[in-house]
């Protein structure tokens, strides 16, 4: 700290302030200055170089939904093949690629990125700042993510699609059985997406810790922000596991290491341990932010604050911790020691406790409120219903004897779709309806929204509920067909037809967005009369988010005193500046310079991506790739005479 008091004292003595401040500036002048300082320049270059968290968040969301469409189409193809027994519509080899691409895309390229995308967009607005803590890292993470997704789908188009399942077990994916370069593309896609997820996690942590607006003490952080903060920590400690394991896999395949080769002292189960150490928390990385959506949407539509704020925060943290104690329940069928299995059964059931606390808090919130049944609330209610069923079957498969029966059957497919679609996609759709007006300035159609909800909700249950029964009857997952005399034909046809209802629901969702983008009702700042800070600025927000950073005195700032609004003054307006504060109490500490637009994150991402891609073919790529990568990073960080350097 030593230098700072001296420097501040000097400043005080001179009385002079660097740069132009917002203090006393008249409103028009202020807005003009801020707009100039924070703008993203027009044209392609501006688009590529921007570090505006809203633009990046938006393109993250759009990209993730494009991957949802691709993965959804793969599922449609799967259901087309399975609609009749002994059908020959899709070859076994293509089928393997399809379900692998479906699962992989849904998990790595849709669900996790879309949750991060929302966080990137919303967190700065909800905590009252102007950008994330590391704006260029944010841009970089997006470009890395896109290149990973493009790579694996281009490979699929060239008949090199991953085909060993979304968890790519060895030895099937190892050097002996993994065909061609298929598993290598899978492994590197994982590396790309994890790099980007980790980058976002780091920046979310720093943003929430340091950039909260004055007055936003820990117990006033919106629950959604808490949920993404906990998620960021789960990412931080879970994702390295899959990076390590996928690197080991590619090394086994490329340079002949023996990590997973039992003949040379390796072990195939090592893969499973490392993968599921990541893979189970992965489910919570998807689910925890979804509960954050629920906690954000509910109070707005039942017109009262959430019941049990502290209970929900503690539950989120508990779920974050417990999610690391569960991974072995994916491996019950591998014959682990009895005691170990019991431990993991117990911890798997234990996670039902904090999840239950959350659910009871939500129900109590609804109970005490006056619900308005708008589309976001419908999705939340659909979520609660569906998730309870998914949770119940989850507790069932957490017990070893039952799991041994239904392992690798459609029972499991039903279970995890209840959790993933019911637990994450429903709240996500609700969140789109809820925040669309903020992002675009227009409301989505409520009429289409209701249709959208009922089609998705019914279509989903009709599609996936019968899978429980098929699973109990013994239909294995990941089979490209089944015999005529198995008697599963009827149920499968029913499922495939129901999935069309589900798809119609999704089609309506996209249609609603396209139509409303043009013709939707104009939203205004706060169309739902919600309580959190993102609704205290224009819709869509300006590049600088807030003209004056708000000061918070209450957990529901916009409900506390809707007429006067305490704000911060004294920030620069001729250079990008945000406010840094203490971690616990958000007491202002620093005027933090915020990075300006730059093309280097993109160029660095190209260098890193090119290196990953080339490393599928030769290990030397890592050596040669280091040169462009270093150049990229040096140019990125090299100061270019920013105004803040004068201070």
């Amino acid at each position: 700290m030593s230098g700072i008091p001296r420097k501040t004292a000097e400043l005080k003595q001179h009385g002079g302030l660097n740069g132009l401040r917002d203090t006393g500036l008249d409103e028009a002048e202020l807005l003009a200055c801020l707009a100039r300082t924070w703008q993203t320049s027009k044209g392609l270059y501006g688009w590529l170089a921007t570090v505006d968290h809203k633009l990046i968040g938006r393109r993250y969301v759009v990209t993730a939904f494009l991957f949802l469409v691709l993965a959804g189409l793969s599922a449609l193809a799967i259901r087309f093949q399975l609609a009749a027994p002994e059908a020959g519509r899709i070859s076994p080899d293509l089928y393997n690629q399809l379900f692998t691409m479906h699962g992989t895309t849904m998990m790595f390229l849709f669900a996790v990125p879309v949750m991060e995308a929302f966080a990137v967009y919303l967190v700065p607005l909800m905590i009252g700042t102007r950008n994330v803590a590391f704006p260029r890292l944010n841009a970089f993470s997006y470009w890395i993510y896109v290149s990973g997704g493009l790579m694996i789908w281009v490979a699929f188009a060239l008949n090199t699609g991953a085909d060993a399942g979304w968890f790519s077990y060895v030895p099937l994916a190892g050097p002996d059985y993994g065909i061609g370069k298929r598993p290598d593309f899978w492994a590197q896609m994982v590396t790309y997406t994890e790099v980007s997820a980790l980058a976002v996690a780091v920046e979310i942590i720093a943003t929430v810790f340091k950039l909260r607006t004055p007055g936003m003490t820990l117990d006033r952080i919106p629950l959604y922000v808490w949920s993404v903060l906990v998620t960021a920590f789960v990412i931080l400690f879970a994702m390295p596991a899959v990076m390590i394991s996928s690197t080991m896999l590619i090394l086994d395949r490329l340079v002949g290491t023996k990590f997973f080769d039992p003949a040379a002292g390796g072990d195939a189960l090592l893969w499973q341990h490392l993968f599921w150490f990541f893979g189970h928390p992965e489910v919570y990385i998807i689910f925890i932010p979804a509960t954050g959506f629920v906690s954000a949407i509910l109070p707005t539509f039942v017109r009262r604050p959430v019941f049990g704020y502290l209970g929900i925060v503690l539950s989120l943290i508990a779920i974050g911790f417990l999610s690391f104690g569960l991974w072995v329940h994916h491996m019950f069928a591998t014959g682990l020691p009895q005691l170990g299995e019991s431990f993991f059964t117990a911890s798997s059931m234990m996670i039902a406790i904090p999840s239950g606390v959350q659910i009871f808090c939500w129900i109590a919130t609804i109970w005490g409120g006056k619900p308005i049944f708008a589309t976001p609330l419908l999705f939340v209610l659909g979520f609660i219903f569906t998730f309870v069923i998914g949770g119940l079957t989850g507790v069932m498969v957490a017990s070893v004897p039952l799991d041994l029966q239904v392992h690798d059957t459609y029972f499991v497919v039903a279970h995890f779709h209840y959790v993933l679609v019911g637990g994450a996609v429903f709240p996500l759709l609700g969140a789109v309806y809820y925040w669309f007006p903020k992002v675009t300035g227009r409301m989505l159609s409520e009429r289409l929204g209701h249709w959208n909800f009922w089609l998705v909700f019914l279509g989903f249950n009709l599609t996936f509920f019968p899978m429980h029964i098929l699973g109990l009857q013994g239909m294995p997952r990941r089979v490209y067909t089944y015999p005529l005399d198995s008697g599963w034909g009827g149920a499968n046809l029913f499922i495939s037809l129901s999935s069309l209802v589900l798809f119609a629901g999704f089609a309506l969702f996209f249609l609603n967005m396209l139509l409303s983008l043009r013709n939707g009702r104009v939203a205004g700042e706060n169309p739902w009369d919600a309580s959190t800070l993102e609704w205290a600025t224009t819709s869509p927000p300006q590049s600088y988010d807030f003209a004056h950073l708000p000061v918070v005195t209450h957990r529901e700032p916009l409900w506390a005193d809707p007429d006067t609004f305490p704000v911060v003054e004294g920030l620069r307006v001729d250079a990008r500046e945000v406010l840094g504060g203490t971690v616990a109490d958000a007491v202002p500490q620093l005027r933090v310079p915020s990075a300006d637009n730059s093309i280097w994150p993109l160029l660095s991402a190209i260098a890193v991506g090119g290196t990953f891609l080339a490393s599928i073919y030769t290990p030397w790529a890592v050596v040669w790739g280091a040169i462009p990568v270093s150049i990229g990073f040096i140019c990125w960080f090299w100061p270019k005479g920013e105004p803040e350097d004068e201070e």
């Binding site: 090394l251 490392l274 620093l590 350097d645």
Partner: protein, 200 residues
């Protein structure tokens, strides 16, 4: 809506050191995730060791000399590293400049010794799982070493340009020193795993 200014931040500084700075938290988060990576890789090492009837598998224990030399250099580097941190916080640019040159040299030294350290493992990566995991651990640490030395060199150069005189660069120097501590500590742990586990 009425706006009422209640907080004046015009005299706040634009940078600070340690936990006051967002970049410090970013560095800490990166350290946490990389430490997790190390911990899991070490976990894999012991997992494989427990599975194997003999450990190390079909190889003598690695030669101690180069790894120990790296350890000594890295431990010794803690002293100049913390002096740099101190000087940076004092905003004493001329001392920081000297310190950065020292740290650049101290960073490159272990990288040179590493050239002998890989053969000193006395097994190739593709011989068996033991060979694979020790190469992996050593490789993982080397990549961290390379990254931080690269960062140190860039900062050192920066310190001698006009741009380096901006006070906020000294905060970067301090964060870089923080990361270096992590590189040293992680080596102390890995050293015990790689060199002493096979001797137990």
């Amino acid at each position: 809506m009425m706006r009422r200014p209640v907080v004046d931040v015009s005299r706040l500084p634009t940078y600070d050191f340690g936990a006051a700075s967002p970049m410090w938290w970013g560095t800490l988060a990166f350290i946490a995730l990389e430490a997790t990576g190390f911990a899991l890789a070490i976990g894999a090492y012991f997992y494989l060791a427990v599975q194997a009837p003999h450990w190390p598998i079909a190889a003598p224990a690695p030669d101690l000399a180069p790894g120990t030399a790296v350890l000594i250099i890295l431990l010794a580097s803690i002293v100049p590293n913390h002096m740099i941190d101190f000087w940076a916080r004092q905003q004493d640019l001329s001392k920081v400049r000297v310190g950065m040159i020292v740290m650049t040299i101290v960073g490159i030294l272990p990288l040179i010794v590493r050239i002998w350290e890989f053969p000193a493992l006395r097994i190739s990566w593709d011989q068996n799982a033991y060979g694979s995991i020790v190469w992996f651990l050593l490789g993982l640490h080397t990549s961290h070493l390379l990254t931080d030395v690269g960062d140190t060199i860039v900062l050192a150069v920066l310190m001698f340009t006009q741009k380096g005189t901006a006070g906020r660069r000294l905060s970067d120097v301090s964060d870089n020193a923080f990361y270096w501590d992590f590189v040293v500590v992680s080596w102390a742990v890995l050293y015990l795993v790689i060199y002493w586990t096979p001797r137990m």
